[in-house]
C-alpha cells in the first residue's frame, strides 16, 4: 500500500471538517475522491500533504507514519501536490516555477530529464517558459501546477480539482494527460467535482459527503451506481 489513511479527523477551530475517514491508494493506481463543494476534499488533500495538522487518526505513506511529519519533508518522501487554485507563483516565470518544483533535488540529470518530460506532456509550457506565471491563462496555470508537482518526482501525485474553471475541451485534455502520467508509473490521487471524467479515468474511487466517506468502489461501479448518478452525474 502506498498511502493508507485511517480514521482521520481534522478540525478547523471547533468545527470538525473530516469525521474519521479511511482511504487507501495502491501503488500504480489512479484513485478519485469525488464530492460536492464543501464536502472536505481539499481538507483531505491538505492533511495528506501536511499543510493542516490532524486531530485524530493516522496517515502512512510508503510504509512510514507521516501523520506528524512537516509538509516539506513529505515532499522529499515523494508526496507531490498540485493544490486547489493551482498556486502558481505569479511573480516567477514558467521556468522558475518548474525549477522550484525540483527545489529539494540535487540530481541534475534527473531534473533535466523530468523537465523534458514536462515539456513533452505540456508543449504549451515550453512556448511560455519565459512568461510570468501570473500572466498565464487558467488552463496554462493548471498545466504548470501539474508539471511543477511532477518536478518533485513524486511517488504519489495529489491533484486537487485539476479541471476547475477549464473549458470542456481542456478538461478532456487534462484527464488524458493524467492517464498518461499514470501509465508512465506515477500513482495518482485526484479530487474532483467533475465526477464523470474522474470516475471514467480512475481505477477506484471514494465518495465524500460532508466530511465522511459514504461510498467506494471501482470507477465503473460508481459510474453505474444509481445514487451516485443521481447526485453527481447530472442524470436522473
Amino acid at each position: 500500500m502506498l498511502l493508507e489513511i485511517k480514521d482521520l479527523t481534522l478540525e478547523y477551530g471547533r468545527i470538525e471538517a473530516l469525521h474519521g475517514i479511511s482511504l487507501e491508494v495502491e501503488q500504480g493506481e489512479i484513485v478519485a475522491l469525488i464530492g460536492a463543494n464543501g464536502a472536505g476534499k481539499t481538507t483531505t488533500m491538505r492533511a495528506i500533504s501536511g499543510l493542516r495538522p490532524v486531530a485524530k487518526g493516522s496517515i502512512v505513506f510508503d510504509g512510514q507514519d507521516i501523520t506528524k511529519l512537516r509538509a516539506d519533508k513529505r515532499v522529499i518522501l515523494g508526496v507531490g501536490q498540485s493544490p486547489e487554485g493551482r498556486g502558481v507563483f505569479p511573480g516567477m516565470s514558467v521556468m522558475e516555477n518548474l525549477e522550484i518544483g525540483a527545489y529539494t533535488r540535487r540530481d541534475k540529470a534527473g531534473i533535466a530529464e523530468d523537465l523534458e518530460r514536462c515539456f513533452a506532456l505540456f508543449p504549451r509550457l515550453l512556448e511560455r517558459r519565459k512568461q510570468a506565471g501570473g500572466t498565464l491563462s487558467g488552463g496554462e496555470q493548471q498545466m504548470l501546477a501539474v508539471g511543477r508537482a511532477l518536478m518533485t518526482r513524486p511517488k504519489l501525485l495529489l491533484l486537487d480539482e485539476p479541471s476547475m474553471g477549464l473549458a470542456p475541451m481542456l478538461i478532456q485534455q487534462i484527464f488524458e494527460i493524467i492517464t498518461e502520467i499514470n501509465s508512465q508509473g506515477t500513482t495518482v490521487l485526484v479530487v474532483e467535482q467533475n465526477a464523470q471524467q474522474a470516475l471514467s479515468r480512475a481505477h477506484r474511487a471514494y465518495v465524500l459527503e460532508t466530511g465522511s466517506i459514504v461510498k467506494s468502489g471501482t470507477g465503473q461501479e460508481l459510474l453505474n451506481d444509481p445514487s451516485v448518478k443521481d447526485a453527481y452525474l447530472g442524470v436522473a
Binding site: 509538509a71 498556486g87 511573480g91
Partner: protein, 302 residues
C-alpha cells in the same frame, strides 16, 4: 553627494525591513537595534585591536584591512542579533498562531529591550568610533566635491545591494525566499522549509544592517545606544517609499530620501532635514499607496 551617501546607508538598512516584511508581513521594529549593535561591535573590535580615535592609520593596507574586519564583524554581529530576535521572539509566536497585534507588540518590545540593554551596558554614553579614513576631497566635478568616504560608502553599499539582488533573483535559496513571500503554503508543497527561509531572511537583512553600521561609523564616527532609532525610522520610511517588500524599491527609496533631506536642509536649514523626509513620505503615499515601485517579493500574494 552627501545625500546619496546618507541615502545609501538608509537603503542598506531598509533592505532588512523589506526582506522580513516580504516573507512574514511583519514590521521588524527591532531591526534598528540590529543596526545599532553593528555600530558598537565594529567599534569594539577595532578597540580590541588597539585602534581608537587617536590612532594614526598611515598605510592603505592597514586601512583596507580595518574596514574589511569592521565590515565582517558588524555584519556578523547584526546577523546574529537579527536571528536571535527571530528565534527567541517571533518563532514561538508563529508556532502558536498568534495574531498580528502580538507580533507588533513583540517587535516593539524586542527593540526596546536591545536598546536598553546596550544603554545600560554603555551607561548611555555617546561613543566616537575611529573613522579609519581621514576625510578628504578625492575629486570635484564643477561645484560638486566628492570625498573619499563618500566613494567608499556608495561603492560598498551598491556592491552589497547588487549582490543581494542577484542572490534573491538567481540562486536556489533566493527562489525559495520569493516562493515563501508569494505563497507560503504552496512553497511548502515544493519541499521548502519555511522556517529555514525565514532564518535566511533575518541573516541577510541583519548582515546588510551590519554593513550599513560599518559605513555609518566611517562616515560619522559616532554611536550611542539609541542611534538606531532615527536611522531605523528613516530606513523604514525608505522601504515604504520605494514599495515595501521590494528590494530595488529600498535602494530607490533610500537614495531619494537621503537626497531630498539634504536638499531641504540646504534650502531651509539643517533643522528641517528630518521634517522634510517624512513630509515626502506622507505626500508620496497619498498618491501611490504601495510606494514607488510597488510590492514585488510577494507580488500578488494569494
Amino acid at each position: 553627494m552627501t545625500g546619496l551617501e546618507q541615502g545609501a546607508i538608509y537603503a542598506l538598512v531598509a533592505l532588512g525591513y523589506t526582506l522580513v516584511y516580504g516573507v512574514l508581513r511583519l514590521i521588524n521594529f527591532a531591526h534598528s537595534e540590529v543596526f545599532m549593535i553593528g555600530t558598537f561591535t565594529t567599534m569594539w573590535v577595532w578597540g580590541w585591536m588597539g585602534i581608537d580615535q587617536n590612532t594614526k592609520i598611515d598605510s592603505v593596507g592597514q586601512m583596507v584591512m580595518l574596514i574589511v574586519i569592521g565590515l565582517v564583524a558588524g555584519a556578523a554581529a547584526s546577523a546574529v542579533t537579527a536571528v536571535t530576535v527571530e528565534v527567541v521572539a517571533y518563532r514561538p509566536l508563529r508556532r502558536r498562531n498568534a495574531p498580528p497585534l502580538a507580533f507588533l507588540i513583540t517587535a516593539i518590545g524586542a527593540s526596546l529591550f536591545l536598546a536598553e540593554m546596550i544603554g545600560i551596558f554603555t551607561k548611555r554614553a555617546p561613543f566616537g568610533p575611529p573613522r579609519i579614513i581621514e576625510p578628504a576631497v578625492a575629486f570635484a566635478i564643477g561645484p560638486f566635491k566628492v570625498t573619499n568616504t563618500q566613494i567608499l560608502v556608495l561603492l560598498v553599499a551598491l556592491l552589497m545591494m547588487a549582490a543581494l539582488d542577484q542572490f534573491v533573483n538567481r540562486s536556489r535559496m533566493g527562489k525559495g525566499i520569493r516562493a515563501v513571500a508569494q505563497d507560503p503554503d504552496t512553497a511548502a508543497l515544493m519541499g521548502i522549509n519555511k522556517n529555514r527561509i525565514i532564518l535566511l531572511v533575518f541573516v541577510l537583512g541583519g548582515a546588510m544592517a551590519g554593513v550599513a553600521a560599518l559605513l555609518w561609523n566611517v562616515r560619522y564616527g559616532f554611536t550611542k545606544f539609541n542611534v538606531g532609532f532615527l536611522i531605523g525610522l528613516k530606513a523604514f520610511s525608505a522601504a515604504v517609499l520605494g514599495g515595501i517588500g521590494n528590494l530595488r524599491g529600498a535602494l530607490l527609496g533610500g537614495l531619494l530620501l537621503g537626497v531630498v533631506e539634504n536638499y531641504a536642509s540646504g534650502l531651509f536649514g539643517g533643522e528641517w532635514k528630518d521634517f522634510t523626509g517624512f513630509v515626502l513620505l506622507v505626500i508620496l503615499l497619498m498618491f501611490r499607496p504601495t510606494g514607488l515601485l510597488g510590492e514585488s517579493l510577494g507580488r500578488a500574494r494569494a
